[in-house]
């Protein structure tokens, strides 16, 4: 999947078609069409206010597009509420981490598993009548611990989630998203607030996630090192419009992208776009 020639043969798992979202007179996203092939790591970049997170919110059902459609594995997602989108197999993280602060790390992940839980809530009240429900609860607990171990959070399983250090909170948010057993993961600025060392670790972590969990990943990122390092294909938004798409190499040298990031008369020189990434 990494060679560009094979791309045509790949399945398009997420298809955004002519999506427009207007807030009154403001066009937040204008006529956006993009495809994300199965098993890829795709980047969605653009300067601040370009509408990247809005695109995420349209995909995950928080906004209903004014026009256009979003298809996931051939089924329409447009108009579904967020929890149905999650059931369909898309999960996401947030730019500003949104954990369940009063809950422990383990409970956070268990909450993520709930969407796949078959036992009804009242069955757990009568454990002797519904042993299967009780067994499922135990399995969820065990599975969540396993997932935490996989992401290196096993030791903090009983800690309250808000007590974790920042990087671990980001990882926990990803763990929680994975607990919903998604096929598609949307990461909103996973590297925000991380130092260069942590960003490099994140690169490997994202690749490992994709391989271990059979995911397709779409990520928003400002850190160009991360974007160029991990993404196989990149879409660039500016002011709600798609201005470029392509492999990291073509994006790096695309004059329109450079202009969007650095302004029109900036001395571009030989520095790549990533030379001075705009800080959020």
């Amino acid at each position: 999947m990494k060679n560009p020639e094979g791309k045509a043969a790949q399945n398009i798992v997420l298809k955004i078609k002519d999506v427009t979202l207007r807030f009154g007179g403001l066009v937040a996203v204008g006529d956006l069409s993009m495809n994300v092939p199965e098993g890829s790591i795709t980047g969605l970049i653009g300067p601040n206010g370009a509408g990247k997170t809005t695109v995420f919110n349209v995909i995950t059902g928080f906004y209903k597009p004014t026009k256009g459609s979003v298809d996931f594995m051939g089924k329409p997602l447009t108009g579904l509420p967020p929890h149905k989108v999650c059931e369909a197999g898309l999960s996401r993280t947030f730019q500003n981490i949104r954990l369940f602060h009063n809950e422990t790390v383990l409970e956070n992940v268990m909450i993520g598993s709930y969407v796949r839980q078959k036992g009804r809530w009242w069955q757990n009240l009568l454990p002797f009548v519904f042993p299967a429900a009780l067994r499922e609860e135990r399995e969820i607990r065990a599975g969540s611990l396993e997932l935490l171990a996989h992401l290196g959070l096993a030791e903090q399983a009983d800690a309250v989630s808000s007590s974790l250090p920042y990087g671990a909170q980001r990882r926990l948010e990803i763990a929680r998203a994975l607990a919903t057993r998604p096929k598609f993961l949307l990461l909103d600025e996973p590297a925000a607030g991380m130092n260069p060392q942590e960003s490099v670790e994140l690169l490997n972590f994202i690749r490992k996630l994709r391989d271990d969990f059979d995911l397709t990943i779409l990520l928003i990122e400002h850190d160009m090192k991360v974007v160029m390092g991990v993404c196989e294909y990149i879409w660039v938004l500016d002011r709600g419009l798609l201005i470029a798409e392509g492999s990291p190499e073509t994006i790096r040298t695309n004059p329109q992208v450079i202009e969007a990031y650095l302004g029109k008369d900036a001395p571009v020189g030989d520095g790549p776009v990533g030379a001075s990434p705009p800080v959020q």
């Binding site: 009240l125 454990p127 969820i140 919903t180």
Partner: protein, 354 residues
């Protein structure tokens, strides 16, 4: 495993103590004290059901008195005999179809809960789309509507005259039996993954939606379960006091329940039980401030309602200095008494022994 056995034994022991106390109390305590002990259990049931709505699922509801009223009236109307009903309805004759309804107490208790939760469900559908203070205002309004309907639907409810002569079915066994069932229900519920989901909806609704939780349905469900508890509590209360009238179910009733929940700790099962003990006994004990007092040559006449003033001050003090209440969101655990016990192994939460 060892702690599990230990906790099991301790739970049984405290249950035994409770049973012994309930057996001992009726012969050795006067009626006033017995009523307070009964009220503690009933307020604990009501507090737990409000805590499920407010503390655990985060819906600020001020409608509990309304659901209590529904429960109390449904239960009373089902228990009263036709003869009693005929003599009681003075202003308007009773609706004929209601006259001959008669069920045993336990059935009326369940039906009271079901009626309250059905009404709760009807109210929840439009109202739970609101959040925060708006929800509080809307539920408060609905509770008041229920009360006013009871006042005016004379053929059904005997209006503001209320219902008298309800058989005193609520004894210690009944109220504490119900409390035990409610406690077990709450403990199992909050320990299950669904309990986690309720807390998730409270903590961050957007994140909960993203995790595939239908937050609206979850809130409706928690609200309806809480209303069931409110109805049962109201029914027990009616059968304890043997007289009910619409004035019993004014906002002050919700307010004292809110106090039970807030004093004990929002989101703590143990907290609601402790809160119920404290608030119920304090409300009674503080009655002395309403009596006339003579200190030296000063004579202070009794001021009715003074204890509510003191109670309000207490509540303000708690909100300022210990907002999380006595328990916060923690739960009682036998491990408190065994500091060397293995950490991490969570023990059974229990409220028995009170």
């Amino acid at each position: 495993m060892k702690t599990k056995i230990r906790n099991g034994i301790l739970n049984l022991l405290s249950l035994g103590v409770l049973v012994y106390f309930l057996w001992w109390a009726p012969g050795n305590l006067d009626g006033y004290k017995l009523r307070i002990i009964n009220l503690i259990a009933i307020n604990a049931i009501l507090g737990l059901s409000l805590n499920l709505i407010y503390g655990m699922t985060g819906m600020f509801s001020l409608g509990h008195a309304g659901f209590m009223a529904i429960g109390a009236y449904v239960s009373a109307l089902l228990i009263l005999t036709p003869e009693q009903k005929v003599t009681m309805w003075i202003l308007d004759p009773i609706a004929p179809w209601l006259l001959n309804f008669h069920t045993p107490f336990i059935v009326s208790l369940v039906l009271a809960g079901l009626a309250a939760s059905f009404l709760g469900w009807l109210i929840a559908l439009p109202v739970l789309r609101l959040g925060g203070d708006y929800l509080g205002i809307a539920t408060l309004g609905f509770a008041e509507i229920i009360r006013i309907l009871i006042v005016n639907l004379t053929p059904l409810t005997n209006g503001s005259l209320g219902l008298k002569g309800i058989p005193a079915h609520t004894d210690l066994w009944m109220s504490y039996g119900c409390l035990l069932v409610v406690l077990l229900f709450m403990i199992r519920l909050m320990k299950s993954n669904f309990g986690n989901v309720l807390r998730a909806v409270r903590d961050d609704e957007i994140a909960a939606k993203t995790m595939g939780i239908d937050t609206f349905q979850t809130r409706v469900l928690a609200f309806v379960i809480g209303c069931f508890g409110g109805g049962v509590g109201g029914a027990l209360m009616g059968n304890l006091i043997t007289t009910i009238d619409p004035k019993m179910f004014m906002i002050t009733q919700t307010y004292s329940l809110l106090m039970v929940v807030v004093v004990g700790g929002l989101g703590s099962i143990t907290g609601s039980v402790i809160g119920s003990i404290l608030v119920t006994t304090l409300l009674e004990w503080l009655r002395f401030v309403e009596n006339p007092v003579t200190i030296g040559s000063f004579h202070i006449p009794g001021i009715p309602g003074m204890r509510m003033v003191i109670f309000s001050v207490l509540l303000i003090v708690i909100i300022i200095f210990r907002r999380e209440g006595i328990m916060g969101t923690r739960e009682f655990s036998w491990d408190w008494f065994f500091p060397t016990g293995a950490p991490g192994e969570k023990s059974e939460t229990k409220g028995v022994g009170q």
